[in-house]
């Protein structure tokens, strides 16, 4: 068992999700299966490999600090509850 129901409860709390005991147990089973599967990554030696966090190499996207028109306030606040 890679992951316990208790750990699922803790993670759910971090992710701001409520879960019933039943849901927690089902999730623990499914996650355990998934984590067992992804453990196959450990077959590979990645000691000196740089991680990729972005699909293409781009440098910082800077722009001139100019005032441009933006969404009007009433429109931006339209979705307020």
């Amino acid at each position: 068992m890679k992951i316990t129901p208790q750990e699922i409860s803790n993670v759910a709390n971090l992710a701001r999700l409520n879960m019933s005991q039943e849901e927690v147990e089902a999730m623990a089973r499914q996650l355990d299966e998934i984590l067992t599967y992804v453990a196959k990554l450990n077959e590979l030696d990645t000691e000196d490999i740089k991680p990729t966090t972005h699909a293409i190499s781009i440098v910082n996207a800077f722009r001139e600090d100019e005032v441009k028109s933006s969404l009007p306030k009433d429109k931006a606040l339209n979705g307020m509850l």
């Binding site: 499914q30 781009i58 979705g79």
Partner: protein, 476 residues
């Protein structure tokens, strides 16, 4: 169709009315649309007709299109297939939507998808699952299932979808339409509700390769509002639609013809590869040794990014709020728990776990390192060939509800499409044939970064020689 409109043999209003009538007739069975705007569509078509008469119409003037419900449309509800955004009306258009409107397209409405684009069947949609028009007891694929189904069922001329791990190519394959995932950065993601930001890309689903090139002409290009879009000249993709493949070297990746590949899919795809050879292409066997690890990498990287992206749905800024909660923390938790469906929760949990302290190195970092190896595989292989030809999926479409309770087997069904997203390369699915049960099977062509033209050339030659693009589901 464009020719008919340009020469005034039909009008945009007539065409739009025809498509709306078709929707009226088959939508009960296909269930592709979440939101349909017939009045708005007619108004847009009238405007398109004025443009056509004046000769000022853009490239897609008068074309009725559907849009995946993950792209923001000003004044039109954008749900992402989720209860949490059930009543969300964006105050602005996604850049791709702006570009479609500027080109004169008629937007019919928003189509169904897996909630927040998480899924391979569109069954995770909070508003009901769309069906495969070729057989409505089967899945249409996902997550851009509503896009593929609406194109296949003639409920629109073309559609815009998104692809994070195969979500354009896989439903295109299952529904017998053309689906292109462009290079990461080719198309602006501004106004696309984010799932996994380093993998998401917007692209067209169309009835044929020519329409695909047309849509690409309109939606591609740098956008200052998306800092990851790339400043690169956009070619006229229609110029890539040329006859003959002499001089093109096509790699056949052994790892894509895996154990578990359905024999019917293998047969159809091998026939497709033979046709590419007959068109003049040379084929070589190539190897992408880390293919087998792509699912494991993806199901750590994508949920990690998703858990962060979906933190914004807190019941405060927009979307559903549980009004009965007494404390702030309870309000967050109750709003999210009631608003999100099971698959979304599952991925938030996986992602939060993979990023949590103590596990970060073992999971997220490790996956990001293997992602480098997968990207390197492609870099090396494209030194020896122009494009890769392979299946899109390991099986034809399966029956609704068949895999919904088995997340891992569902995840594994994406094994042939995920690598392209991890490496950011373009990939296209072109209809290639049918299974014995009459379900469509696509062929996938992948290329190096920004080589969409080569994909289109190969796809166009396959389409012209196969001559099946005109086939439509008969039983609707």
């Amino acid at each position: 169709m464009q020719e008919l409109l340009a020469t005034r043999q039909t009008s945009a209003v007539e065409l739009t009315r025809d498509v709306l009538a078709r929707i009226e007739k088959v939508e009960d069975k296909v269930k592709a649309y979440i939101t349909l705007d017939p009045e708005g569509a007619i108004r847009q078509a009238e405007a398109a007709d004025r443009e056509l008469r004046a000769g000022t119409g853009g490239m897609l003037c008068g074309m009725p299109l559907s849009i995946k419900d993950v792209l923001c449309t000003e004044g039109m509800r954008t749900t992402c297939g989720s209860r949490i955004l059930e009543n969300f009306v964006p105050p602005y258009d996604a850049t791709t939507v702006t570009r479609l409107k500027e080109s004169g397209a008629v937007l019919l409405g928003k189509v169904s998808m897996d909630e927040f684009a998480m899924g391979s069947t569109s069954e995770n949609c909070a508003f009901g699952a769309p069906r495969n028009p070729w057989n409505v007891e089967y899945i249409c694929g996902g997550s851009s299932g509503g896009s593929a189904a609406s194109v296949a069922a003639d409920e629109c001329i073309a559609s815009l979808g998104t692809d994070t791990g195969g979500s354009i190519r896989q439903p295109a394959s299952h529904c017998g339409v053309v689906g292109l995932k462009p290079t990461y950065g080719r198309v602006s993601r501004y106004g696309l509700v984010a799932f996994a930001s380093s993998l998401d890309q917007i692209g067209p689903l169309t009835k044929d390769v020519t329409d695909c090139a047309l849509m690409m002409n309109v939606i591609s290009g740098y956008d200052a509002k998306d800092s990851t879009s790339v400043e690169k000249l956009v070619p006229d993709f229609r110029r890539a639609l040329t006859d003959g493949l002499r001089g093109m070297k096509i790699g056949i990746p052994g790892e894509y013809f895996v154990k578990g590949l359905d024999p019917e899919v293998e047969k159809v795809v091998q026939q497709g590869i033979n046709i590419l050879r007959e068109a003049g292409a040379e084929t070589v066997e190539v190897s992408l040794p880390h293919t087998d690890y792509c699912v494991a990498v993806y199901y750590l990287v994508a949920p990690a990014e998703a858990s962060s992206n979906l933190a914004r749905y807190d019941g405060v800024r927009y979307g559903f709020r549980d009004k009965a909660s007494e404390t702030l923390l309870d309000m967050y938790k109750n709003s999210r728990s009631q608003g999100f469906g099971n698959e979304v929760k599952r991925r938030i949990i996986i992602g939060t776990y993979a990023l949590s302290s103590g596990y970060y190195d073992a999971y997220y970092k490790k996956a990001s390192q293997v992602r480098t190896l997968i990207t390197e595989d492609f870099r090396k292989v494209f030194e020896t060939c122009d494009v890769l030809a392979s299946p899109v999926t390991t099986t034809p479409a399966w029956k609704l509800a068949e895999k919904i309770d088995d997340p891992l087997s569902m995840y594994l069904s994406d094994i042939l499409t995920i690598s392209a997203n991890l490496a950011g390369i373009p990939g296209i699915s072109v209809p290639c044939g049918f299974s014995n049960a009459g379900l469509p099977i696509g062929l996938q062509i992948q290329g190096a970064h920004f080589q969409e033209e080569k994909l289109l050339t190969a796809a166009y030659n396959l389409e012209q020689r196969l001559n099946i693009a005109h086939l439509r589901p008969e039983n609707l």
